[in-house]
């Protein structure tokens, strides 16, 4: 199976819109939404089957049994994550606790134990095509692990799919690193804005650190032609293939708001997306 991951660094450059278009163009048998913080792909990809939902357990979190607690303060003094709050009684801050287990061992009264905590939900739609997605509970850490689970869930059911398309999350941190694992190529959706260029450079460096092949496309390219050319010459300089340009298109917004893909309607961005798709597939299946 070839895996294509769509990333951008900066948010809102059009990852999900393009992913939706690619899935339809490729008639992909397998696809996944790895933006577990704010999943949106399910909004554009209508499903006919009911999903299978599984609880996702993140890191276990410490829980203090206040009946046993003598308020010796050792747990608070030794917690590196400032996760122990004192307000009449000792309590663990759910969001700060990383489940390291220091407090559990240091407590002389054995009043603290690590308990599994539901950190989100895995969702799997499977009929002829497989769509794997998830939703992280607000404020939970370990989103990287959930991303790994989303991909694992897809790979398990869709072993024989020729091509899998994965919608990534913004940023360069833990969920992005997790989504990079095992993919054959990353397509970066860049935007010709000051922020867009700076973020693109950082995400390219991240992908290269994991020795993943990278191609770039420029969305809303006509909003700033000077910056578009800057991106293209930057890519040329470091030898990255450019898969094309997509214009800003008010029809794209209309398509999204009626839960359609940009390739479902006749519009300039849809036509450009078809060309970007053809180029990307060419890069993906080429040898080097």
């Amino acid at each position: 199976m070839k895996q294509l991951l769509i990333l951008s660094g900066k948010g809102g450059t059009g990852k999900t819109t393009l992913a939706g278009a690619f899935i339809k163009l490729a008639k992909a048998k397998a696809y996944a939404d790895c933006d577990v913080d704010a999943p949106n792909l399910h909004l554009v990809m209508e499903q006919s089957v009911a999903p299978k939902r599984t609880d996702y357990y993140g890191l276990p979190k410490a829980v203090i049994n206040t009946d046993q607690c003598l308020q010796c303060d050792l747990c608070r003094q030794n917690c590196r994550f400032e996760a122990i709050n004192v307000n009449h009684e000792y309590k663990v801050d759910y969001y700060s606790c990383e489940g390291c287990g220091v407090c559990e061992i240091i407590c002389p009264e054995n009043a603290i134990s690590l308990k599994p905590a539901v950190a989100g939900e895995l969702v799997l739609y499977a009929d002829e095509t497989v769509f794997s997605t998830a939703r992280l509970k607000m404020g939970s850490g370990t989103s990287g692990m959930l991303v790994t689970e989303v991909k694992k869930q897809m790979n398990l059911v869709a072993k024989d799919a020729e091509l899998a398309i994965i919608d990534g999350s913004p940023g360069i941190g833990c969920p992005v690193i997790a989504s990079l694992s095992g993919v054959d190529m990353v397509l970066i959706v860049a935007e010709p804005s000051i922020s867009g260029i700076s973020d693109m450079e950082r995400i390219i460096k991240t992908a290269e650190q994991f020795q993943t092949r990278v191609a770039v496309c420029i969305n809303k390219y006509d909003t700033n032609l000077v910056n578009t050319e800057k991106i293209e010459s930057f890519c040329k300089k470091i030898n990255l293939p450019v898969a094309g340009r997509i214009p800003f298109d008010s029809n794209a917004v209309k398509a999204i708001n009626s839960a359609l893909s940009i390739i479902d309607i006749d519009c300039t961005s849809g036509r450009a997306a078809r060309e970007v798709f053809a180029k990307t597939v060419e890069f993906l299946f080429s040898k080097s």
Binding site: S8, G9, K10, G11, G12, T13, T16, D37, A38, N40, L43, V44, L59, N78, R80, F81, Y95, S96, E98, G99, C100, G101, V102, I105, I106, L136, M138, G139, S140, G141, S143, G144, S169, P170, G171, I172, G173, C174, P175, I177, E191, I194, S195, S198, D199, R202, K205, T206, Q209, V253, I256, N257, A259
Partner: protein, 191 residues
């Protein structure tokens, strides 16, 4: 007063809103907590005043003291330690810096060294103090940087704007921890 600017979806204009609010407020502090992709400074182009390296603590073993009891290997919930060929190996990038291994080593064979994960830069742009956190590429968690960034808001008289990362995960919760108000930047799309 501290105001955090956030949105679930990326690219809705958090930076646009928070940068301009800071400028409009005349006297203000602007803190960029989007340490994975900090952009606010690109618009302020602040005159740099200083910077601070952000380090986390990573264990180092004194091989003369280690007797191979493996208590640390068993303790570590993140599997950052392995005991191979009568030697303890530490995997820096897997370590969460909880300090447990050092704390519970019966031979006191573990100490800590510092590892740099990013930087906080501060400067001024007219009447705005601009504080930016930058996570080194390849590092997984920016939380220690955000913790340091928010120190710049403590005891500050001027109004502080906190430009948050997108999403709703742990880094966002950390960024808004001390905020008095949150402004949510929404976008009229289906997403």
């Amino acid at each position: 007063m501290k105001i955090a600017v956030l949105s679930g979806k990326g690219g809705t204009g958090k930076t646009l809103v928070s940068v301009n609010l800071a400028v409009a407020a005349k006297e203000a502090v602007y803190i960029d907590c989007d340490v994975e992709e900090p952009n606010g400074h690109l618009f302020f182009e602040p005159k740099p005043i200083g910077s601070e390296q952000i380090v986390i603590k990573i264990p180092v073993v004194d091989e003369k003291l280690c007797n191979g009891c493996r208590k640390c290997v068993e303790f570590c919930k993140f599997n950052a330690l392995a005991y191979i060929n009568n030697k303890l190996i530490v995997f820096d990038e897997v370590c969460h810096s909880c300090g447990g291994c050092m704390l519970f080593c019966p031979e006191k064979a573990l100490a800590e060294k510092e590892k740099m994960i990013g930087e906080v830069q501060y400067g001024v742009s007219e009447n705005v103090t601009v504080v930016t956190g930058i996570l080194n590429i390849g590092e997984a968690s920016g939380i220690p940087i955000i913790k340091n960034l928010l120190n710049y808001a403590k005891g500050e008289q001027a109004i502080t704007f906190i430009d948050c990362p997108p999403g709703s995960a742990c880094i966002v919760m950390e960024s808004i921890k001390d905020a008095d108000y949150c402004i949510l930047v929404a976008e009229p799309t289906f997403f």
